[in-house]
């Protein structure tokens, strides 16, 4: 009995330390999407002025796996991740864009400079459509499956590791 009493605090300590150690590897400010495994929200955005497009709406989603990338010309990390977005599009991935709280001239110039491989771009001038998606910062990238369900959200700029280890595998797994 006495041995148990001595071991117990050690066991409790190791258990708590284990959880805390695992917690150290996570980012506490990163929110999981409340929309995971739920259908993408209803929205209907006009096109980016001057872009030959009809805009982006809920009806454009589904049918095939696609990415929805929320970006803005005033967002520095968006600029950093955009080459990766371009590369994904060039490899055949359908990427839709939501231009978040941006001026059309600035967004157009940004795309002209960095490359525009978006299939459609919706201009979310006042940010309301983004709120339907649960967006809380830019950039964010959503993976939508052929049924129109959100299966993954990446907060912040995409890095090559994220593309290799997460985005591409998920896209492949929802291919059917």
């Amino acid at each position: 009995m006495r041995r148990v009493v001595f071991i117990l605090p050690v066991v409790v300590f190791i258990t708590i330390a284990g959880f805390l150690a695992q917690g150290l590897t996570r980012d506490p400010s990163e929110l999981p999407s409340a929309l995971l495994d739920r259908p993408a929200p209803e929205f209907d955005l006009p096109p980016l002025e001057g872009r030959d497009d009809h805009g982006l709406a809920r009806s454009d989603l589904g049918g095939e796996p696609m990415l929805v990338n929320v970006f803005a010309s005033w967002c520095v990390p968006c600029r950093v991740e955009h080459p990766l977005i371009n590369r994904l599009a060039e490899e055949g991935v359908t990427v839709q864009g939501i231009n978040h709280k941006d001026k059309p001239e600035a967004a157009r110039a940004w795309l002209a400079e960095l490359g525009d491989n978006f299939t459609h771009v919706g201009a979310d001038r006042d940010g309301r459509a983004s709120i339907e998606w649960g967006v809380y910062g830019v950039p964010e990238t959503y993976i939508v499956d052929p049924a129109g369900t959100i299966v993954y959200r990446h907060v912040g700029p995409l890095r090559p590791e994220d593309v290799e280890e997460t985005i591409l595998p998920i896209l492949e797994s929802i291919e059917q």
């Binding site: 400010s29 929110l31 999981p32 999407s33 409340a34 929309l35 929200p41 709280k101 940010g127 309301r128 709120i131 339907e132 998606w133 649960g134 809380y136 910062g137």
Partner: protein
């Protein structure tokens, strides 16, 4: 003394709804009051430790606007909060709701306090028994003790 206390009180007083701009307020005072109540309960997801009423972040401003839009559309307080948690999850509520997944958060500290109290009571009882269980010295041992104490200090 009074002045020091007044200074501390002034420094600690957080201005209510510090970030709300006059132009955001609704005309209907009842709805605006509801909006303020809700605003204090919603977390600014960017700053994460402030309510949307206190945060200067642009997203907080958008959230405040949405709260008022929903109220004008006739939503109740519960419906407005549901609207937000549907899109941003339970984390957007500053007060975590009491349900099966948060019961550990709410009850945990009390449970640990109770456990600690039990352990303390147990230990105290053991100590008291141990003290009571010490037998008195026998006559033989008492004689030896007197002999030893009788020796001059410094001897082994």
């Amino acid at each position: 003394m009074i002045r020091a206390l007044a200074l501390v009180a002034a420094l600690l007083a957080t201005p209510a709804a510090a970030a709300l701009l006059p132009g955001e307020r609704l005309d209907d005072p009842k709805l605006e009051a509801m909006a303020r109540t809700i605003g204090k309960e919603l977390r600014c997801v960017v700053c994460q430790n402030q309510s949307i009423d206190d945060s200067n972040a642009e997203l907080a401003r958008d959230f405040r606007r949405i709260v008022r839009e929903r109220l004008l559309a006739g939503d109740s307080e519960a419906e407005v909060l549901r609207f937000m948690t549907d899109r941003y999850g339970e984390f957007v509520l500053l007060k975590p709701p009491l349900n099966s997944s948060t019961i550990v958060l709410w009850a945990g500290p009390f449970a640990i306090l109770a456990l600690g109290g039990l352990a303390l009571a147990f230990t105290l009882k053991r100590r008291r028994h141990a003290a009571a269980a010490t037998p008195d010295l026998t006559a033989e041992e008492r004689r030896r003790l007197d002999e030893l104490i009788g020796e001059e200090p410094g001897h082994a």
